[in-house]
Symmetry: D2
Subunit: 415 residues, 4 copies
């Protein structure tokens, strides 16, 4: 078997890390236990292009246990964990082509190496593999999956242009993915990042949260749970009203700027905190972003009034302002849970990757009969994942009786 | 002006109650203040068929202040507050035909009396007025509104059958209605009903909540807020998993039955608590329902194992069971917040009725050009309501700059 | 047996109410079950002077079941529930002398009637019976108990003056009494009173709580639990800092007055909300007191700037102020949980009265050998009560092993 | 000036860290600003023996700004931060004798070097300096302070034995110290340590907390605030009942062992989690201790049933048990907030060290007239600290009027 990793000697460390993730990904493990005997992926070749992390390692192990033959490459030049890659090559015997810090050429060479498997199914994160597949299509392909919003947007554009050649399942759109990672994953890990970067006491602080969507709600709940006094800013009055009825204060950012101790942006929009807000802040204000891009806190808006910059620690920059005050920016305004902590906990990736696994299973079995469209996750699969997660937590739930089902279906006429 | 109420002498008491509601319905009052000078409903005749309560009194005053000429009748034989009706007749000069405890014939006579106004717009709750309008259509009608799910279902059926003769705005579907009354309104008032009926200490109790939809979430949050240990039962694994990740216990009803002190059903389904659950309950268990109909707790399931029934107070029935234990049912298993408390607080009806008012305004102005379909509430109207509510609470929020709007619209290309 | 009640025909209603309380007083019931066979109070005569309520009915039943012979009288001219008194006379055969609305002479006649029993033990609430006992001491007396702070203060004064003739156990000072009724009892019932009086939605309201002692903490927690934004005012900086670190806002009353929707005083001091605060309040502000006396909200401070007073309902007075705004006072500024709701839930009285019962038991057995002093509750008894409460809730806890006990006692030397 | 540090070149890094701590220790800074002009410690020599950390650096700067002449040494062979020590020597000119990893001889040599200052006042943490002072007493000494419980116990023993030669103020006993660091400091940092060591999602986990004292309450509140389902174990029924009424589950450890995902001990006792508990745990259970010593989780109890040990990361050990399950122990069962996170946030040390500063001030001024006893912190000083903290947070509070003071003092007679 061919592969390309940085250093096979790192395999043991990588194995340990995958084991640790695995201990917290019970749904994937339950799927593995369910399918490792029947091996429904026997004879199926799967090519994956997805961040080579400890959680991905658990996905790879699970696909292999279900019988699949695998090739793999990274989906980002900087995200590969070399120890995990080494373990996947050495311990799992995967045709993996990935290392941290590749050039653009190496990056695409790796994709092409992975494609040599002539996969029946592709797993993608950002759609780079899928796009390459379309350039010189391997002949066995039955279908693919996509993990991210960005990728789904690209693939829907391909579909619209009549260019999509095989069916894609949009894992991103599963309720067990986007309704959990934003609220529970980012909620905890954003605060975690702030604490690791600053060791600040959250209790008693005025925490200003810009945006009250899924992420904002998650961060607000965790900040309040740590004893903060939460102030929400919003542009949508319905979301703002929910924040207010949830017991938080709601204010304009320029007003909140005067009292905030910690600011967290979660809006998906740019210029949420700008120069005139910075100018009003208290000495010592801490700024962090939990939205996708580093445009929410205007860094030019800070720098234009800065007289001195000083790195406080690996994650935190001190800006001494013209007005004599200091503000602190964590992780250069990039996603604070990734910049200063470890991103989503394994438990959250567990459900995303269980969706990936089941989507691969479906494509292996039915892909040949599906039209070349972007498909949503079945409600049934979403529920199967949630049920498996519950079972792994030792939680049992009720199910509807036939009489109850009939009642619910007959509801319109009923009363 | 013709009218029919029980006793005009009750007018002052009714006026006081409407005043009190009005003090807690700032959005409607703000709309009144906005429109009472321009009187956009001048020359518009509005017939309403909606529970004659103190909150409805505020809606009537607001429509009148905006220039409308009004007739009114009840939408349920038992829900009219006679003092409010008296005040609407005497103090507001409305052609109201309503009293508590009418017969079915009187009920429809009242509707027909209200129809004599030849309305331009109808306001309905359950669709009885709208259906009557269709039997012998007054000639001026431009459109109507509908407050409830049940009514919307009837009217959509009429539309499907090609029988709908004028446009209907489904107020029920506004986000500022159904996303607030269920969570915040029922959440508080269901607990309020249980406490009024039993004077029980919620703190430290095991509260079993069946269903984790909007109502279940609201009740769970308030029960936990009062110090309860909450156990959720569900049939949908995704909802169950959210309950678990929100920090609650999740179990099957038959298991939860063993440890619950208080049970609240919120599912919309029948037979959620049945005989075998009752049989397992602890001595002293309290049962209440916060779902629409009194079928969630199986009363036959209780009575089949009851040796003695005793009324503990106006709202609470004690059932002594064959197994020697006692269970207590509040309000005959009917909606506990209405049976044992006062239903939704005025603040919640404020937004529903603001939607009603703006829907009437739209129909008065544009109804003649709208097709005879059931329409959703405009997102813009929903946001206008929420904004007015915020302003009434003294809360100011941000708005998007043109540059931010451009950024958000260009998002797809961005990365 | 001699007795004096208002109307024996009320007995059945009283019995029902006592039964209901009993179902929520498991500790007392557990004590009854424990002692009704051995009857350790057989031959012991107990005279009680304590509010004749449904919870007291459960105490009386328990003392009787343990073998005591009983006489009883009220400890306040207005607090007797006549149906409960009737049941105690008819169903329990107690020598009870109590009715609601007695004159001062009748009040003392009743005490003297109860004293004719020549009690071994007295139970008192306010020390009136104990003081009368000292005037012409029955010869069998062994000791007494006292329920309230006020009574304990009087009796400590008697002790100091060398006038106390028999031992008194200060039930009030039990941790299972004062550390639970203030936080959990008043916390819930104060909010309950406010909601019953106003039907207001607590969610999203700015609730100003004056004082952050036991009661203030309890009310703050419950208000936040109902979705309020809580603002605390304090004069003690340590308590204020705790409120701030618990995530609440902290402000001066005169500043909080500007933004509060609901105000609750819990300080034990007078003039906590005064005229200059009232003058700043928003239109519609609601005022309630959860402290002992009706001096916390300055009623003269309201009335001096009032142009019109109007009763909104049984519990709520509207004051229209010179400045054009309206404020609403609940229950005349008296304890809102008693004025507008039902006071402490039975579950809370359960522990107070379990302490009473065990104190009586101790005095019956050891009173003759105890010096005429005011005694605190034994830590052991406090723990026995708490343990019984836990058992009644189905909760089991650990106990220290001998090795653990030795470790804890040897702690000083350890490091 | 003489000093002994590891490497003066580390001074700049140390200065940065002290600056960062200083930005979050506003009370100490406020005291500095208050006293740096009047310099009340001018001519006073202070010798400190206290962990050389960034927070201690802020205390040293403050003492110096108030005029004191200082010498310093570490109070633990392993706790000195060498960069901070370097900055104190170089930037502050302090006679500091401290480095990380000293031998026992070096440790005492450092203490003796610091004593050469002939201090008027000593600051101690554990009483080693104070004991050495008593062996050959410098002549100028007026008094000392003590930071810890352990030290206070030693010094009270000296007092009892008639051996205490100068007055000691027990800073540990200030309410602004022990009532804040345990609840707010450990509450947050214990969870922080667990998350840093495991990156686990707390939401939805069953978190078992042993002990419901100050620390247990703090950890329970934060765990619940992060979405955990909290189960408390206790041996004291009163504390257990409070946990139950606070909405948590309460169980015996051996029962809780079956369902817990994470276990945190906070009891101050040994053998809280023992072999038979370990044997019942679910695969993957995580164990951490937040109590003082590493005896709460029985490590022999784990090891006796372990077949394989493996280090998962710097902080976490995996034990594979005979029964086929794995449990994970964080930080060898030592204080998890220090072992895997950064201990108390600066904000919490702020108040401890403000108490230190004011105690030094008092001893400098009045020590010569105080008897050689261990003194509690004045209530007034405690309140001054809390007030300064509030002011630094921009929080203003009310104060009693003379009329209110009179009312409160006259309370006994009042009613």
């Amino acid at each position: 078997m061919e592969f390309r990793v940085k250093d096979l000697a790192l395999a043991e460390e990588g194995k340990n890390r995958i084991d640790w993730a695995e201990a917290h990904m019970p749904v994937l493990v339950a799927l593995r236990q369910k399918y490792e005997k029947t091996k429904p992926l026997k004879g199926i070749r799967v090519a994956g292009c997805l961040h080579v992390t400890k959680e991905t390692g658990v996905l790879v192990r699970t696909l292999k246990a279900a019988g699949a033959e695998l090739s793999w490459c990274g989906c980002n030049p900087l995200s590969t964990q070399d120890d995990v890659a080494a373990s996947l090559a050495k311990d799992e015997g995967i045709a993996i082509f990935a290392s941290r810090g590749v050039t653009s050429k190496e990056y695409y060479d790796d994709i092409h190496s992975a494609m040599k498997l002539d996969p029946h199914v592709t797993i993608d994160d950002g759609a780079d593999l899928t796009v390459e597949m379309h350039k010189g299509m391997p002949k066995s392909i039955r279908g693919g999956t996509e993990e991210t919003t960005t990728g789904v947007i690209r693939l829907r554009a391909m579909q619209k242009a009549g260019k999509l050649a095989y069916p894609i399942i949009a894992v991103n759109d599963a309720e067990t993915k986007h309704d959990f990672d934003n609220i529970y994953g980012t909620g905890q890990s954003a605060l975690d990042g702030i604490i690791r970067a600053t060791n600040i006491l959250v209790s008693g602080k005025n925490v200003v949260i810009a945006g009250y969507g899924h992420v904002g709600k998650g961060v607000a709940r965790r900040a309040a749970g740590l004893g903060a006094n939460v102030i929400v800013t919003e542009v949508d009055p319905i979301a703002a009203l929910k924040a207010k009825l949830d017991g938080y204060s709601v204010a304009k950012m320029n007003k909140a700027a005067e009292i905030g101790d910690i600011f967290v942006t979660t809006t998906g929009c740019k210029d949420v905190i700008v120069d005139r807000d910075i100018a009003k802040m208290k000495d010592g204000a801490i700024l962090a972003n939990a939205g996708h891009f580093n445009v929410e806190i205007s860094i030019p808006g800070i720098e234009s009034q800065t007289v001195q910059k000083k790195e406080i620690n690996d994650h935190t920059m001190q800006y001494s302002l013209k007005n004599g005050k200091r503000v602190y920016l964590i992780g250069e305004g990039r996603l604070v849970n990734l910049a200063a902590a470890e991103g989503h906990p394994s438990e959250v990736m567990d459900m995303s990757f269980a969706n990936q696994f089941l989507a691969v299973l479906k494509l292996a079995q039915q892909g040949q009969t599906m039209k070349p469209l972007v498909y949503n996750i079945d409600k049934a699969q979403d529920q199967e994942i949630a049920l498996a997660k519950l079972q792994s937590m030792g939680v049992e739930i009720d199910s509807l009786t036939p009489a109850q089902k009939a009642y619910l279906e007959g509801f319109a006429e009923g009363t």
